[in-house]
């Protein structure tokens, strides 16, 4: 098989690995701050729809459309983040889950989003280097963030929010930052995603997708940046690898999720465990 043929067959899959790597990083950002939010799929949907409407209905250039999609999801995140982040634990998870459903149902019923049929004929504008540079940019940004005061503050909030506050960390704006930045990454990923899949439908951004994204982060591990990327790649490629199982391939997905939680609670990429291997050797 020549390189061109291979790319024609698998380009969508390869681009998806990158886009979902970004999604896994986006949710790991809020998780690293101790917040379980399930709205990332909805933010991806907002970014995807806004940018796709910008290129199809308003003929905007690709970069402006991407920017608009990113800003759109950032803005919505800011709007709902302010009140929602007063909640914690399961309440936060449930509220963001509820928000995600509301977004899905609104996408399903608006005229401009094409209703249940979704948007079709979105121009194919996403090139591999768009995805790669967006992914690298995200990784770079998160690396800087983790190494900074803000990153250490996130860690303190995750370990014990009350103690973090006693140490003089202003927790609310930092939690909002994690949430909004996560949404911006998700919005950008959504815009990129829309312009290589050609079609969008509201069902792409529902609860199942939110769970998939969470699975990626948990499977890969959130203790380092390679974890979510690894998890994103595995969860995206798994259905292809398990194609022979047909109807039962989702069962394998579920089983893997249970086994990882039980036996690898830190995820596949656990810096501590890897260091342990080297010490033993």
């Amino acid at each position: 098989m020549s390189w061109a043929d291979w790319w024609a067959t698998y380009s969508t899959l390869v681009l998806s690995v990158g886009v979902y790597g970004m999604m896994a990083l986006s949710i790991s950002l809020t998780l690293s701050c101790g917040l379980l939010t399930l709205a990332n799929a909805a933010f991806m949907g907002i970014g995807a729809y806004v940018s796709a409407i910008a290129t199809t209905a308003f003929d905007l250039p690709f970069f402006e459309a991407l920017l608009l999609g990113t800003l759109g999801s950032t803005f919505v995140a800011l709007l709902i983040g302010l009140p929602v982040l007063r909640l914690s634990g399961v309440y936060l998870a449930m509220a963001t889950l509820g928000f995600g459903e509301v977004v899905r149902i609104i996408l399903l019923n608006l005229d401009i989003t094409g209703g249940p049929l979704g948007l079709n004929g979105i121009p194919s504008l996403t090139q591999w280097w768009h995805v790669l540079s967006a992914l690298l940019g995200t990784v770079f940004l998160l690396r800087c963030l983790r190494a900074s005061r803000i990153g250490r503050a996130f860690e303190a909030i995750r370990e014990d929010e009350t103690a973090a506050r006693l140490m003089g960390i202003n927790t609310h704006p930092l939690k909002l930052l994690a949430f909004v930045l996560g949404a911006a990454i998700a919005g950008l990923a959504g815009g990129l995603n829309a312009h290589y899949t050609f079609t969008l439908s509201p069902g792409n951004f529902g609860f199942e997708n939110a769970v998939d994204i969470l699975t990626m982060a948990v499977l890969g591990g959130i203790r380092g940046l390679p974890g979510p990327l690894l998890g994103g790649a595995i969860v995206t490629l798994l259905p292809e690898v398990l194609r022979d199982l047909q109807d039962y391939r989702m069962a394998a997905n579920g089983l893997i999720l249970i086994l990882v939680v039980l036996f690898l609670p830190q995820g596949l990429w656990d810096p501590q465990r890897i260091r342990g291997w080297f010490k033993r050797a």
């Binding site: 399961v90 309440y91 509220a95 509820g98 109807d247 069962a251 579920g254 039980l262």
Partner: protein, 295 residues
């Protein structure tokens, strides 16, 4: 106009009673085990398919339905033994049981889809063809009467169990503090298993009743129901038994009336919008008195 309202109120009551039943099992697990068991929707679906499995083998309904409920309970017990128990032992953070039970739901949904097909099915029961009861302007199909009797009967039994029996007192002691309960000689771990079993049976009954009510079951019916269960228990206050029942009934009424008088497209958005607002306004629930750690 008035008769339509009366009819809709009866429909709301029967739908709400099923939601309440589902939410009761869901909140029971949260109250006693302290975990959000996201496989409750999967167990709900499983109950309906177990009933279908036995009914298709020409078992009489009086035998098939209870056996299906029992099977669902056993699966719920297995999830507790194989997954939740291990996580309790590891003292995993609350995120972990949620993710593991999502995995269990995906597993169950996929198995149901593989074994029974993805298309929607219905119970081979004849009493859907039967005549209905007419009370003034309101028509009550016998199926609906049966649903309400079973749902409220089960809820009253559960209420009695929790309020009046020694078992119920032990369970409520665990809900207060598992460690203190263990010190008092209550077999906490065994009662965790029992709770998982009971909650799963409640989920299974709700699944069968929804199957009877809409005369349709599908492998994907668990997810929307789970969302409604979440909405109901948050409306009622997490872990609050009475709140869950009230929350479920409230959701049934809100949904039926919203579809009748507002718009059917936004039916689900309505319940989630409501959930969203309640969380912002009263995170402890509309009826609940659950205390949040304020620090």
């Amino acid at each position: 106009m008035l008769s339509m309202l009366a009819q809709q109120l009866v429909n709301a009551l029967s739908l709400g009673s099923i939601y309440a039943l589902f939410a009761l099992g869901f909140t029971l697990v949260f109250g006693i085990l302290g975990v959000i068991n996201l496989s409750h929707g999967g167990l709900f679906m499983l109950g309906a398919y177990a009933a279908l499995f036995f009914l298709e083998r020409h078992w009489p309904a009086w035998l098939a339905l209870p056996v299906a409920v029992l099977v669902t309970g056993i699966i719920g017990l297995l999830i507790d033994l194989l997954v939740l128990k291990q996580l309790r032992r590891q003292r995993a953070p609350h995120l972990m049981p949620m993710i593991a039970t999502i995995g269990a739901t995906i597993l169950m949904t996929s198995l149901a889809q593989g074994l029974f097909g993805a298309e929607s099915r219905h119970f081979p029961l004849s009493f859907f063809d039967n005549a209905s009861l007419t009370l003034g302007a309101v028509t009550l199909p016998y199926a609906q009467v049966a649903i309400m009797v079973i749902a409220f009967g089960t809820m009253i039994t559960m209420g009695w169990l929790l309020k009046k029996t020694r078992l119920g007192i032990a369970l409520r002691a665990i809900a207060e503090s598992p460690r203190a309960a263990a010190l008092l000689g209550i077999p906490v771990e065994r009662l965790f298993h029992l709770t998982s079993f009971l909650a799963a049976t409640l989920g299974g009954i709700a699944g069968i009743l929804i199957g009877l009510s809409f005369n349709a079951i599908s492998p994907f019916m668990g997810q929307p129901m789970l969302h409604k269960g979440i909405a109901a228990i948050i409306l009622g206050g997490l872990g609050d038994i009475r709140g869950a029942v009230l929350g479920g009934l409230f959701l049934g009424f809100a949904e039926v009336l919203a579809v009748t008088y507002l718009s059917s497209e936004y039916r689900d958005a309505f319940s989630f919008g409501l959930l969203f607002l309640v969380l912002l306004w009263r995170p402890q629930g509309l009826f609940g008195a659950t205390h949040l750690r304020s620090a």
